[in-house]
Amino acid sequence: MSLLTVNRLSIAGPRQPIVHELSFDIRAGEWFAVVGQSGSGKSVAASAIGQLLPSNLKATGEIRYDGRNLLALSPADMRRIRGRQIAYIFQDYQGAFTPFHTIGRHFDDVQRLHLSLSKDERRQQAESSLVFVGLSEEVYDRYPSQLSGGQLQRAAIAIALLPKPDLLIADEPTTALDSVSSFRVLELLSRLQKESGCAILFITHDWRHVRKYADRIAVMKDGRIVEAGDAQEVLHRPRHPYTELLIQSSPSLSRFNRLSSSEVTS
């Protein structure tokens, strides 16, 4: 069952087009990875889903979600869906928090808008979701500058998943983290995906993240999807030369490692 269907999505800037007739669909509860170099248009496509494009970019085509075209929704209707049914996390964990608000206030912003709870209930819910992502309850009263990158990213995930969204759009959430923290964040995301049944649109340029977690993969190059399909299929039998190039240029998936990894999985 497909949750979100992108149909011939094109995005153009003032001078040149950025994304050309993108079509893919995300099934409920799956981990869908979009892989591509920086500048391939993957982040722009992700922001088009939530009507978050900068005003100088125009999107055409169709993004179907819940029987409606997200591109054609009014800002007020979009506000009801975005953050509640479609959540986002970003690469820049430091910038994702207002520096002079505590983590608790960030929770509050979401809770007050999408859920009707009393003040105590809000705090309780936020604290339990902080514990759920492996942080302590004290984080609720901390300021963003007092937390490490991995902690911030986990707090961001806790906030994003609070209203129980159907789809979490993760735009390179581990790129700015060290390898241990990013491993933890990935593990957390995969656990949450399995437990809550929330689909993840995972945008990355790093094959290592794709290999282990993704159910399906789309490879983007210059604003087009050059190859898409089942993760293992794409990884082991890439049809497009660009995919092959990407796989070979990834350190842990070089020809030598690919052999060993296929041995392990088969």
């Binding site: 939530g50 978050l52 975005r82 509640r84 970003f90 910038g95 928090f97 608000h101 808008l113 999408h114």
Partner: protein, 282 residues
């Protein structure tokens, strides 16, 4: 060794500065208490029998050429000069900051139009605009305040806009949008607090300039009109008696110098306090 020396001089300088600030704050406070307890003069009551009296217990700073008590007039002049200066400043901040935030946040045509207007205002020196406006609207403190407002809101709008422009692109603004916050709430809760420090610093440095502007325009007769006890106007009135009673000019002059200095120091202090870059993160 060098480090230790630098540390010592900077602490010494800090202490000196604090002492100076305290002294300067204590001085007008003492004067205000004294005025409240002892002085009961009408600041504009003319009494020719008492003109140009030397300092005495009844008139601590003597009387002026019309027999009015100088200390009373100086203290009430604070209300005119400092009070109206602050009033103009607050009005300028109240107009400039929201406009600047709005322009920076919205961007596009509204931003461009507002900033071109701001450029037009900025291209004239403050004093010229103030003189022209008071000249057109008529001399008087109210028109002078209006002129100051017209001149000053621009710098606050620009300051607010530039800060918002650097913050607007950060992910937390996007995050606030994703979380469904309305633009008004994003501007007031997530962007405005960034500005408080900058605005306080600029404002405290501006108070001095505004006080100088009020006093200098009153001195040339475009601001406060006699018999209002405004410091600049008092300087002007004392001018013909400079040789007979030089203190008449010295006192209001000193008041202006003191207040402007005080505000400058306050501005420096706030700038140090709000300068986030200097702050060491725990």
């Amino acid at each position: 060794m060098e480090l230790a020396l630098a540390g010592n001089t900077s602490t010494l300088r800090k202490r000196l500065r604090t002492a100076a600030l305290l002294f300067m704050l204590a001085w007008p406070a003492a004067a205000a208490v004294y005025a409240f307890l002892v002085l009961n003069y009408d600041p504009s009551l003319v009494s020719l029998a008492d003109r140009l009296l030397p300092p005495s217990f009844a008139h601590p700073l003597g009387t002026d050429h019309l027999g009015r008590d100088v200390l009373t007039r100086l203290l009430l002049g604070a209300r005119q000069t400092v009070g109206y200066g602050l009033l103009a400043l607050i009005a300028a901040v109240a107009i400039g900051v929201p406009l600047g935030i709005w322009a920076g946040f919205k961007g596009g045509l509204a931003d461009r139009i507002l900033m071109r207007i701001a450029d037009a205002f900025l291209s004239f020196p403050d004093t010229i605009v103030a003189i022209v406006l008071t000249g057109l609207l008529g001399a008087g403190l109210e028109n002078l305040l209006l002129a100051i407002l017209v001149v000053k809101w621009v710098s606050y709008a620009r300051l607010a806009r530039s800060t918002v422009l650097t913050e607007r692109g950060k992910d937390y603004v996007l995050m606030a949008r994703i979380n469904g916050l309305r633009p008004g709430r994003i501007m007031s809760k997530h962007l405005f607090p960034h500005l408080i420090g900058h605005v306080l610093v600029l404002a405290s440095l501006d108070v001095g300039k505004i006080i100088l502007l009020i006093s200098s325009l009153s001195y040339i007769g475009l601001g406060a009109q006699p018999p209002a006890p405004e410091w600049g106007a008092m300087l002007n009135e004392a001018r013909p008696y400079f040789q007979a009673q030089p203190s008449l000019m010295v006192y209001p002059g000193l008041m202006i110098v003191f207040v402007v200095l005080l505000m400058g120091l306050l501005g420096d202090y706030w700038r140090d306090k709000f300068d986030v870059r200097k702050e060491v993160r725990p």
